[in-house]
Structures are given as structure tokens and as C-alpha cells.
Amino acid sequence: MTKSNLPRLELHIPEPPSRPDTPITFDHVNRGEAGAVRRPDIAEHESNMRDLPYELIRVLDDDNLAVGPWNPMLAPETLIKGLRAMVLSRAFDDRLFRAHRQGKTSFYMKSTGEEAISAAQSLALDKGDMFFPTYRALAWLHARNYPLTTLCNQIFSNAEDPLAGKQLPILMSARAYDFYSISGNLGVRFVHAVGWAMASAYKNDTKISLAYVGDGTTAEGDFHEAMTFAAAYRAPTILCVTNNQYAISSFAGFAAPERLPFAAKALAYGFPGIKVDGNDFLAVWGATQWAAERARTNNGPTLIEFYTYRAEGHSTSDDPGRYRPKHEAEHWPLGDPVERLRDHLIAIGAWDMDRHAAMEGETKEQVKVAAKEAEAIGTLGQSKPPIEEMFEDVFAEKDWRLKEQLRELKARRAARAETQGGAGA
């Protein structure tokens, strides 16, 4: 090519299909057909599964029936358990989000629309398998009946906060519930899940790990490093991208240009990637089961993209109306996970609208009772853990710096309490 007639280059900036002032469109979403995607053997070679990332695995069809090879064939009781976790999660989100508006907590984030993912996985995996969650996965805890009052205590940062005031609300840690410590930093823990799984294999244990990153977060180097490690050592882990279409205001097209499935990222590492309807409780379960079986039988890691939609704002600090059409959520072509599971249960004759309404009422009440209990202990700034906690767990044991500083703080408090009857910094 000679220089003189070279075309001028243009910088391409990705843009989302809709903005607040343009029509809502989900034309790019290919729903495929429920039940249509094949389910390879768990020992199938990667080279025979390279088409999978480009298809969408669904189990629930448009008549609310479960179809196809990914159907996990669950008993209705199990489905109802899952439904309950989701409904509870939603009730919890509603109340705690409002609690933020009332100044009872510093921060909150809802999982609305994405509850099927962690609810199904919480029930599908074994006790002892370790979950490396993001902040939009509290349904895992709800599915395992984590005490709601304790959760509220964490969110209110009060005297009974199980994390003793050391961490931001909902950035939970619950070891007894196989729920790894979350933090504000995105992505960083994806590779912890791989290291944890490697350790389990190192010890000839039977436990596997499960980890989430958001669609946006796949852009971080951490995602790649985790995938590379998982591939090299065939770590027994399930790595998931919860693709809810948004990273705060940025659409998923920044991390996966041109609608490339996130599942296709697995092709770079030589292990299977599948794309699964994240609003389909049964599909989530079926895919998780397949990946878990692969992991448990030394067939290595699986990447699962859960295709879903963040139906609410990013967090209490966000106003999604500024960057996307107000009613976009209602048009999401894959529906609402709670409604879909409910309608399936009704379709198979195991549920009805009355029972559903009762479940909604009951979980709402349960949350209310828990929130009140926690409020009685105290809300943000009204109550907090003992000041000594602030100096604990920096190290296994305090060194002289922390000891001196604790002394200093206590002396100042004591002095001020004497002169003014109040503490201060």
C-alpha cells in the first residue's frame, strides 16, 4: 500500500443500542430455542465443544415447561425452595434499599433480575464447595437460610455486625455458608477461586469452587490470569460471568465488542465455555450441575456466561435513568426469573398464585421482623461494635503500633468523656 492513497483512520467508540432518548431495542438478543442446545458428555474434548459459546442454553420454554438435555429434572420441592430464596432475596433488597434512603445504612446494592443464578447454585452445589461471590449474590445466603437479622446487622454496621464494622454493607463474608469474603475491588478474587480449587486438588479433597465476575469486570487482567491458571492446572472450579448487560452506566459492548458472547472467552484457554439463560432457574441449575460434574471428575474448569439483565440501578448511588431508557427492564426478552420459575411451577401443577402471594407476604414479613430486630440493635452511626474491634485482625496479633494507637484512642476518649461527656476524633 503506498502512502499517498492511504485512507484516514477513524477511532471507533462502542455505543449501546439505546439511550434515554432513543427507542428501546433488544433486537440483538438471540433467544434461540429452549431445549435446542446439545449437552456434551462431561469428558468431551474441548475441541468438540467450540460451537457451544455461541448458543444460548435454555430449559424453560415459552409454555413454561422444562425441555431439553439441560433440564436437571428437579423435584417440585426443590424448585419451591429455589423460588423462596429468590422471593426472599427480592423482599430483602426492597426493604434494605429503603433502609438506605432512611439513612440506616451507608450503602446497598440490589440483585433484582439476577436472583436465579446464585439461588440455584447455592442449592445445586455441595456444602463445603466454596463460593467466591460478587456483591449481587446474596440469594446464595438466602437459599441457605442465613439468619436475616445477622445480615441486617452487617448492613447497619451495628454492634452485632458479624464483620464487626470492618467492611462496607453487603460486602459480606460467611465462611460457615461457604461464602468467601467480598471486597470493593472487582475481579481480584476470581483467581482466588482458582487457587482454592488447586489447593483442594493438591490435598486430594473433593471440594470444588465457584466464582463470579460481572460482564464489565471481565476486562480486568485478573479475569485472564484466573482463566490462565485454571486452564494450566485444570483447576476444579466453575468460573461464571454474570452478564447483566451493564457495568454501572457502560454497556457490555466494552468488554465484549460486537455482541461476542462472554462464553467465547473460554476459547482462548482451551476449556469449555457455555452461555446460559441466567433468568431460567432450571438452566442455571443444569449448567451448574454439568460444570460441577466436570470439575469433580478431574475434567477441569468450565466458564459459564449467565445472560441476564440488571433490572435496577447499579447501587444506592446510581440513577440508571441517566444513561438507559427508563422502562428498558420490562422489555428484557428473557423475562423475570421469579415469574418464570413461578409460572413453571404453576404449569406443572405444583404451585398457584395464592400460594405465591402467601410466600411473598411471608418473606416480606420475615424480612421486616429481622430488620426491626436489627434496628433495635442499631443502625449506621447509632450503634457500632466495640472500639477494640477496629484494632483487631490487621494481623493475627497486634504489634506495638496498634497497641500504642489503641491506648492513645482510649486515653483521648477517657479524657473527653470526663470533660465533655462525649467522644470525638
Binding site: 464494622g165 462496607l168 470493593g184 475491588n185 487482567g221 454501572i248 457500632k384 503500633r401 496498634l402
Partner: protein, 343 residues
Amino acid sequence: MTETKKMNMIQALNSALDVMMTQDEDVLVFGEDVGYFGGVFRVTEGLQAKHGLKRCFDAPLTEGGIIGSAIGMAAYGLKPVPEIQFADYILPAYDQLVSEAARLRYRSNGEFSSPVTVRTPYGGGIFGGQTHSQSPEAIFAHVTGLKTVIPSNPYDAKGLLIASIECDDPVIFLEPKRLYNGPFYGRPDEELKTWANSGLATAEVPVGHYEVPLGRAALVREGSEVTVLAYGTMVHVAAAGIAESGVDAELIDLRSIVPLDIDAITASVRKTGRCVILHEASRFGGFGGELSALVQERCFDYLRAPIERVAGYDMPYPHAFEWDYFPGPIRLAEALLNAVEYR
């Protein structure tokens, strides 16, 4: 006469970007959520609409990628001003900043350079917990080849940001997020002031182009008994602490810690004979250590009391204990009284 306007710090920073983008088409802005949305703190609001999609755009969620690509743009000849959403999240880009941005000019003997200005909201006081509150200036100040700037008011914010963008070196521009909307005196129970009703002259900001030069400290308050060194949010906390103490302290706002205005520091401490250093970051290994060492080396014979450091405790930012951790006016006042009463 220069036209001025009351601006809060967000507006002042926005104005600096707008002025520079208007003046120089090589200036561009990008980062997570900075484009259409205008940034989670709204510092880049309206810039995409005004200057076009390719002048202010969103980026994939990767701080390393953002800084790395900015370095490449700068090597080409542009003047990128990337945003990192929170200073806590700058660490994935730390290698790019230290090994590349800071070292490119030196190792290539001046063939390539990296005039990137990295803006990032910084510091605590907003109940942001561990990862929305940190003050990592010390880990940048130690890196040869980086400049580190920390404004404390709207006027400086705009003038320093313009100077940073115009400067030929990479700059870490730390924006005390607690000051975005108004000054903060370290008293969380006090009624909040906006910049507009703060009564502070520094809320009056020229609408056009001006620079506040890097490396020049500001004398915020003259005093005779003790010198207080501070930057960012702590400048206001220091003012409150001085008032609380009743001590006639001289307050210096460093404005940039690299380059550091060593002459202003030295002259003041030689005059007062005492020095207290105030910063939000945890104390051990913080920038206060360097300041203390420098003052001691250069003012040894003038010192009538030990240099004191008032700083965050040596722990991660503890969410529920924010006001116990935060080095507020009471702790500063104590240190000032200690200093002047030192026998």
C-alpha cells in the same frame, strides 16, 4: 478583568477539562463511565456532548488498560487525561504507572515521554469503607518520575489540573472526594457547607484558563508558634484544629507533594520552631515520614519540640469506625498543644 464564578470542586475540575479540551485538540478524556454518563462524581459531565464522542468516552473496566493505553497515546503525542473511578482502584494500574509512565522518559533517554494526567477521587470521610476511602499518595511520592498533586479547593483544583495537563511529566492528580461539594472540617456532626456558602475565596473560580503552578505551596494561615503541613481535605481539618487549639499556627497547604515546595516548608519551620504534619493515610510509612525527615534534616537547630505526625491509624480503613480513624481537629489540636507546651 478575569471573569469568575462560584464553583464547587466538581465544577472547577469540569471547567479545567473543558478549557483544555477547547484549547488543545490533543487533550482527551476517558475512563470508566466518564462518557455519556459524565462520571460517577459527575466531573466529566457534558464533555462528551460538547466535544464529541471521541474526545470523552467510556473505557472497559480495566485500570491497567486505561493507564497503559493512555501512555501509548501520550507517546504518540496526545495529552490524555484518564480517570480512575476511585484511587483505591488505581492499584491494578500501579505497574503501568511505576514501570512505564514514570520511567519511559528516563530509560529512552528522552526519546519518548508520557505526559499523562491521571485524575482520581481520593480520601475518606464519606463512609465508603475500605475501598472507597484510601489515601495512597505515599506509594506515588516515592516513585521517581511521577508528580503527585492534591488540591484542597476549587480554585486550586482547576489551576492545578490545567498545570498538570500542560506539564510534560506524568501526574497523579488526587481529588479529595470529601471536598467535592464543600469544605469539610473533620466534624461530621456539623452542618455541611457548600463551596458557595463556605465564605471561602477559593470558591471563586476564573471561568477561563489559568494555572496554579506545581510545586508551589499555599500559605493558608500565617502564624508564629508552630507550622502545620497538610494537603487535600486535611487543610480544612487543620484550620479547624488550629481554631480549636487556640494556638497561633502557620498552616501550609502543600498542593503538590512532588514536586514539593521545600523552601516554603523550611522557611516556615525555621520561623516557628515547631512542626505538626497532618494526613489521612495511615501513619506508618506514610508521606508524613518523609516530611518529618526533611524538616528535621533542614531545621534541626531551629526545632524546639519534636515534629509530630497526626494521621490515620495503621489499619485498613475501618468502615463503622470512620470517625474514630479519621484524624480530626481534636487530634490535631492536641498535637499543637503538645508542640507549644513542649518543655
